[in-house]
Amino acid sequence: MSAVWTAVVVGSVGCYLLKLAGLSVPAAWVEQPWVARVVDFVPAALLAALVAVQGLTSGNELVVDGRLAGLAVAALALALRAPFIVVLVLAGAAGAGVHLVTT
């Protein structure tokens, strides 16, 4: 089995067990204040890190290219409460536009 397949299977089983644990463990285990805070805030840290890594890096280097233009357009669209699909189409168009102009 390839490394990617292993990651797909292990990640899927792990995520399922996290869901099952919620329905199975005594509520008091999870309802500790520090657990609640970590769970509330970890998604913001991880999603922001993924925005930064996907938008501004390539391998071990920081790179500025059309993706940054896409992110700027996406942020503007989100601030104007555009629907998800509109945000993605505009971001894609911006990235494609920069690609056409710079190559």
Binding site: V4, A7, V8, V9, V10, G11, S12, G14, C15, Y16, L18, K19, L20, A21, G22, L23, V25, V30, E31, V35, A36, R37, V38, V39, D40, F41, V42, P43, A44, A45, L46, L47, A48, A49, L50, V51, A52, V53, Q54, T57, G59, N60, E61, L62, G66, A69, G70, L71, A74, L78, F84, I85, L88, A91, G95, A96, V98, H99, L100, T103
Partner: protein, 229 residues
């Protein structure tokens, strides 16, 4: 009440359609990250929790190790554990088999719909209808996305490269809006996470900086101290 039930079914199915659009984006992201159609489909069918799936293909696409990809998926998956604790009394699944089945559909959207329902009976209906419609839409649209994205030319793949970070931004955005619980702390944590990830990028193997960004919670996530009057 029939009116509540009809509205719950309608809203739940509408949500399934809307989430299906994210499924297209996920399928396209998986393809851009180098996963094949089967791997994308297995993730949508078995992992079935959007943010974790996006994180997994995001880290793999950035050249990260499988271990880093699994780690970031699991960190984002801990949300569902807390949802499960909240949903357990409402769902009260009888027997291990029914509990194992219900657990697979404990995600952001099903929890939100069930908790928002006016009573327990409607809440359970909302959970099952939302779960079924999202499961169907998410899996079908993943296939559409992964097949549609393969075989694109240079300009189209530049477009797709810009769509992936925008999709993460769209997942993050609601947490930063006024009205989300402690949105100012969420904003600090988000900025902290992005800064930590970018600062570590030159020095750590790809993908590790995403997991390391979780330390931003410790750095910036402390509740604001109440000043004694």
């Amino acid at each position: 009440m029939p009116v509540d039930r009809a509205r719950t079914v309608r809203d739940s199915m509408g949500l399934g359609l809307a989430v299906g659009l994210y499924g297209v984006a996920f399928g396209a992201s998986a393809d851009a990250a180098g996963l094949d159609a089967w791997q994308a489909m297995v993730l949508s069918a078995l992992m079935f929790t959007g943010a974790s799936q996006f994180a997994m293909v995001g880290v793999l696409g950035a050249g990260g190790s499988p271990a880093a990809a699994v780690g970031s998926a699991l960190l984002l998956g801990t949300r569902n554990t807390v949802y499960g604790v909240r949903m357990a009394p409402l769902l009260a699944p009888r027997g291990a088999l029914r509990r194992a089945g219900a657990a697979h559909w404990v995600i952001d959207e099903t929890t939100a719909m069930a908790v928002a329902a006016p009573d327990r009976e409607t809440g359970r209906l909302a959970f099952w209808v939302t779960g079924a419609s999202i499961y169907l839409g998410w899996n079908v649209m993943t296939l559409v996305g992964v097949l549609g994205a393969s075989g694109l030319g240079g300009t189209a793949s530049a477009a797709l490269d810009s769509v992936v970070p925008a999709a993460f931004l769209a997942l993050l955005w609601p947490r930063l809006r006024r009205g989300f619980a402690e949105h100012t702390v969420q904003r600090r944590v988000a900025v902290g996470g992005a800064v930590v990830a970018l600062a570590l990028t030159p020095f750590v193997p790809a993908g590790v900086q995403v997991i390391a960004a979780a330390v931003a919670v410790a750095l910036a996530g402390r509740p604001r101290r109440q000043v004694a009057a």
